[in-house]
Symmetry: C2
Subunit: 337 residues, 2 copies
DNA sequence: CTGAAAGCGCTTACAG
DNA sequence: CTGAAAGCGCTTACAG
């Protein structure tokens, strides 16, 4: 396969490279005749533009980049897709950048910014740790989606999320209302401003409001994979057979836990109740379907985009809470007598 | 945030841009002293390289690009990860390019090739249709993974896959051995050289070998999503209550079908058996766990990489079949009396 | 070991 | 409406 450049195309079409460039970019200031001549050659050559060269010149930071943490995360991917939909309405094109679970979204931001490909950012599922300081340094408008940045004191960052603490409290209330008193909590790292810390506190709020003791040591830290959740549950129930409910911080975790219980000969929800979080599609399909906290993907997407536009227009940062919903699935039931 | 170029770094460090470039690329021909001077400035400035400029110059097609069809496809993603692992051993760096379900891997190839970023390709989960001709035009070494290209007559393309036809036949044999006689088949488009066509034929092989009639019209075409599989099964069972088993062409499909059956008040596997395909992690965790055909991800990855290296060394194309395994899950059982 | 210069393939004012 | 020229930020022979 030959590699052709716009120079080759220009030569063959008998026009200047700048003219080819104009045709390729759909500029209006080209005669129909010339456009056709150029396009014919493009077709004939099977010409493909070199995006590196294009991006190198294209210096206008008109893009908002959506940075998604975790390629596998169905929930975040869902929101990202919805954002693209929203963007159809606005003129601002979006650029989606997926980063690995362990990667740093702030590095990704810097890279995209340095390449002048993005002048603003939406961070989907960002971790809140010391690295979050980088947001301040960047200075351009940033929106945190599904993460609460209200307490970070950013002057250039908005956020859209549910009230994770209240939502988890509500879920725990729901579980306790079914008569459970020995409830385990499995989730992510409880540090700092991370949503997992908030969810943990929400669970604690409920437990203490109901006068139920919970030893902070009992908290089970797990990665958000089927395997880790499975292993965690296996260890937990081998040691504590008297637990009757498990609150988890993701639907995938819930599925892993449910399988572990099954393998231990315990039925869900008859013997043990298990709750999830997020409300991904799979949660409705698996058996038992997961009782979970639904975060509204389309609303989070829509409002994130709106907030970003707002900031780009000079508006001040805002921190928006959207409504969550308790989804009643088949995985939580009354405690057995 | 300021954007610095290597020119800024050079100026500040009091060296030439070429020297900065050398340091950045870890070339050996730089004095330790100079290297330190440059790195200090890089640190101070928080300098980030512009990859567009870098890639524009970096003209050597040393990369093999792995093109993965479908960001959501857990099975293909798994294989891609394993390929990266394999690549640690070899010196050739890999570049992973994810494309959407509807996108054209051959366009992606052309783009990457035109940008001189890749001189060879591994196509994961490619569709085999008229567009596959593009492979011939590209001319550089290509490996199809999970797809059989043996009958395409490519001079520059190898392939690694299981024997999809035999595997599906084996699965259908297994189902029939449980006494089922009214089996539905749900899967992808049966056209041409696509793996779904082969799977379909495999199912037919088994049915006819067992003297069971199957009207080609009965085949149920479905997209590979939970929702589509669910809807398909709903329609199917509303019309044909007497079916006792469903062979599907993916684990996700199986999960969708199982949920539909449940919602219709039918139990899996007591009332209806359902089989999957691929053997993704989730298949082992969901309830019932899926009886499925396991394709070995690590072996497919390893052999694909090996075949590519082989072709790069001038070897002729080869078409390798790896072993599949029937995984006995909880979703297929003896037909009820 | 280091620097000056050419060039990768585009785009975009600037003339005409 | 079209073209010649400069330049985006790098890398890489080529000298020294």
């Amino acid at each position: 396969m030959e590699i052709y450049t716009i120079r080759d195309v220009a030569r063959r079409a008998g026009v200047a490279v700048s003219t080819v460039s104009r045709v390729l970019n759909g500029r209006p200031d080209v005669s129909e005749e010339t456009r056709k001549k150029v396009m014919d050659v493009v077709e004939e050559y099977g010409f493909v533009q070199n995006r590196n060269a294009r991006n190198l010149k294209n210096t206008k930071p008109i893009f908002a980049a959506i940075i998604v943490r975790g390629r596998r995360n169905a929930f975040l991917n869902d929101i990202a897709e919805q954002m693209i939909e929203c963007a159809q309405g606005f003129k601002t094109p979006f650029l989606i950048k997926y980063i690995d679970e362990e990667d740093d979204e702030f590095d990704a931001m810097r890279q995209l910014y340095a390449e002048k490909r993005a002048g603003s950012f939406i961070l989907l599922g960002a971790r809140m740790d010391e690295r979050s300081e980088a947001v301040r340094a960047v200075g351009v408008p940033v929106v945190f989606a599904t993460v609460d940045a209200a307490n970070m004191g950013y002057e250039n960052a908005s956020s859209v999320c549910i009230d994770d603490r209240a939502a988890t409290r509500a879920m725990m209330d729901h579980i306790l209302a079914q008569g459970h008193t020995r409830v385990a909590v499995i989730g992510g790292c409880r540090d700092g401003e991370d949503i997992f810390a908030k969810r943990y506190l929400g669970a604690m709020d409920s437990l203490s409001a109901h006068g139920i003791d919970y030893d902070a040591e009992e908290y089970i830290l797990s990665r958000f994979t089927l395997e880790d959740a499975y292993d965690s549950a296996m260890r937990l129930f081998s040691a504590h057979r008297n637990i009757t409910a498990v609150l988890t911080m993701s639907d995938m975790m819930a599925i892993g836990v449910i399988r572990a219980l099954r393998d231990l000969g315990l039925r869900v929800p008859q013997d043990v109740s298990v709750s999830g979080f997020d409300g991904i599609e799979l949660a409705r399909y698996c058996i038992p379907s997961i009782t979970t906290v639904r975060q509204p993907p389309e609303e989070i997407a829509r409002r994130s985009v709106a907030l970003l536009c707002d900031m780009l227009d000079g508006g001040a940062p805002q921190h928006v809470k959207v409504d969550y919903a308790l989804v009643d699935g088949e995985s939580v039931a009354r405690v057995r007598a």
